[in-house]
Symmetry: C2
Subunit: 415 residues, 2 copies
């Protein structure tokens, strides 16, 4: 008997037929003798509809009330899912974030989990009842309803798996797993049978849309075994494993132990580039620059500082495009004068292309091969950043997909 | 400075425009220096839509999950109302039934309030914040979400008024007050400036649709002053007073102190009549009959036992038409044999017409005048029942409205 935490996203529970399909799946798992805990998102586009309604009602939308509003979506979906389970003779009970014991901070709209006290969930399991937990919600230390943010249901499922000691956390979604690259861009993209936490973390950080970044961070921290799979085809998806020594890993046997393995190519068109030029090259300048941006909650990603030329330097970095205006206003009105910079330029239409895989740090040929591939296809690189298992290049947005296609072929990922 | 509890029903908060109209009204009340607590129902027809969705999902709908589902409607409405208030600079905070301290029994879909611990509501008031409380909901002694039933928001408002010691409980709705009879049936129906608790109780019990019966019972028990009024015209509605000595009463000055005052005519087409004929006239027969019906949760209303004829009697009573089949099946399968009754007949198409007003018990002419009016218009009476302030006659359904019109004229209620 194994304990599964199964999370179903909005499209997986979008209508009564989908709910019954999920209920049938849970009934099958129980017939196999397994225990199941469900985590459910709001149905289909309901969260978007609630946000639209709030915009119609008022220009002033306090976070506390937005959370009260939005969390109604998951509650409805959980209650309906319990009824769907009842119709196939599976006893079930819904739990709000609060009832499931998710204690969060008071940061409305984007609350962080502080602690989970899942006594009621455990009691339900002990009675043979399937707990159906509302995703992405909790109760704050001030006893107010909180929302964990978009994509928060993945985090709910992973965190709950950890505290329950689940054997596997299954994230059911509308794709069938994690692919070597975006299948919409590269036809020959293939589903990976397994991937390590580190690699998945780099992939979600550089454009792979599912699962939500934050849930991968939690899974990574607590080593929660994940299975990313489809609620439409029910086929086996992608297992997220600790390392390739893991017995779950099935698809790396033919490579040498120390060979670099490029696992995936990702791309991300959601960022913009800012270059602050002609900055005096003094200690503390970068600190001032990025501290001001951090204080304004601008999430800076890649940072490149060019070689100093006669005591001056250019600093380039990327920010989410939605934060671009805010960041430039802040820089022009306050920061630039303070650090003595003279000019600022921005580029909105950029794309970041990344290759991901273990072992590349000790194999310098990997980065070189990436640059050569792009050069051979006349794709210009404007920024580069690397991690232990990733190389990212910023290119023009309109050639980003072409870059992905060439890299996917060059690194032998075409299926 | 007075404290008002103001309840707004579904049509009063059906869309963003209506919500803003309510917010403007609250802002006006606060400018006058008054304190306001809001109780909000689900928007428009949302509760019906949630029920329909549940029917689509499953034939099995556990009460606990139905309550989790339905209460999402009031939560949404409360959160949106707080945003509407914020847009007119009124600080507000939403409270679920649980957060507002409504502790109920575990009778899902129709829970009864056991106790209210409104500490958070009081704390908000003390800070100058308008508490916006979700109507018709609470948390059970088992810590599950409960729904107080349809029309339960009125009960929430009245009960909260009592525990807060509010100066007035205002029930805002889509009609402008309590009328001498149904204005759709009698054009000359007039709005009453005031009415006593007793009279309103009899009126809601015999067909006056608003406010909900149960809330009037609570208001009656705790003498909670009510004002039933319109959220569309905002004109003064009907005050519910303790007695006509009340200084609030303005429209009875011309009548002598002991004159019977017929205040209203009501009618109700939702009941059916059952006659159990030829019952041996022995002690305990009625007890058995009505105990079985009570155990089956059939709500018996009027009961008439005809004069015994040679040791046998006929017992007629009315039940809600929706319970008619269940009641007759129960009687025919079990009860009739047990009490020795030989035949049973039912009449579905009946109407109950009632006149209501204080002082009629010591003025026998009132009932006689009612019977004469019906007879003069060739309307046949099949059952009669009376209380201290009401006389009801069962007539054929198709002449019930005509009966109302003639009685409204005969008792000088035409405006």
């Amino acid at each position: 008997m194994a304990l599964y935490v199964q999370k179903f996203g909005g499209t997986s529970v979008a209508d009564p037929d989908r709910m019954r399909a999920v209920a049938d799946h849970v009934a099958r798992c129980r017939r196999r003798g397994d225990q199941v805990v469900l985590v459910i998102s709001a149905m289909g586009k309901e969260t978007d509809e609630l946000l639209r309604m709030a915009e119609q009602v008022s220009d002033v939308r306090p976070g506390r009330e937005m959370d009260m509003l939005i969390t109604a979506g998951e509650r409805k979906a959980c209650a309906l899912m319990c009824m769907a389970l009842a119709s196939v003779d599976v006893p079930a009970a819904s739990f709000t974030g609060s009832q499931a014991g998710f204690i969060t901070d008071t940061n409305h709209r984007n609350a962080k989990i502080l602690e989970i006290t899942p006594e009621r969930v455990i009691a339900a399991l002990d009675e043979g009842i399937v707990p159906v937990v509302a995703g992405s919600q909790g109760v704050s230390t001030e006893r107010d309803v909180t929302f964990l943010g978009r994509g928060g249901s993945d985090t709910t499922a992973v965190a709950l798996s950890h505290v329950l000691g689940a054997d596997l956390c299954e994230l059911y979604t509308d794709v069938s797993g994690v692919f070597t690259t975006d299948p919409r861009v590269v036809e020959k993209a293939t589903k990976m049978a397994s991937i390590t936490f580190d690699e998945l973390l780099e992939m979600t950080a550089t454009g792979c849309p599912k699962p939500a970044m934050r849930s991968v961070e939690v899974a990574h921290s607590y080593q929660v075994p994940l299975h990313i799979r489809s609620a439409f085809t029910w086929e086996p998806g992608t297992l997220v494993v600790d390392s390739y020594d893991s017995p779950d890993n099935k698809n790396e046997s033919e490579n040498g132990m120390e060979q670099p393995i490029i696992r995936a190519v990702t791309h991300d068109l959601s960022e913009s580039k800012i270059t602050v030029a002609d900055v005096p090259d003094r200690p503390g300048v970068s600190a001032k620059l990025f501290r001001s941006l951090a204080n304004a909650n601008v999430n800076v990603d890649m940072i490149v500082q060019n070689v100093s030329d006669q005591g001056h330097t250019d600093i380039s970095f990327t920010v989410p495009t939605e934060d671009l205006d805010r960041a430039t206003t802040l820089l022009e009105s306050e920061v630039m004068a303070e650090i003595g910079a003279t000019s600022l330029s921005t580029a909105g239409a950029i794309g970041r292309v990344s290759i991901i895989g273990a072992g590349m740090k000790s194999n310098p040929g990997v980065a070189a091969k990436m640059f050569e591939t792009l050069a051979a296809n006349e794709i210009n690189i404007s920024m580069i950043s690397t991690s232990a298992i990733r190389v990212s290049c910023v290119v023009d947005a309109d050639v980003a997909e072409s870059a992905v296609q060439h890299l996917h072929t060059a690194f032998d990922l075409d299926g």
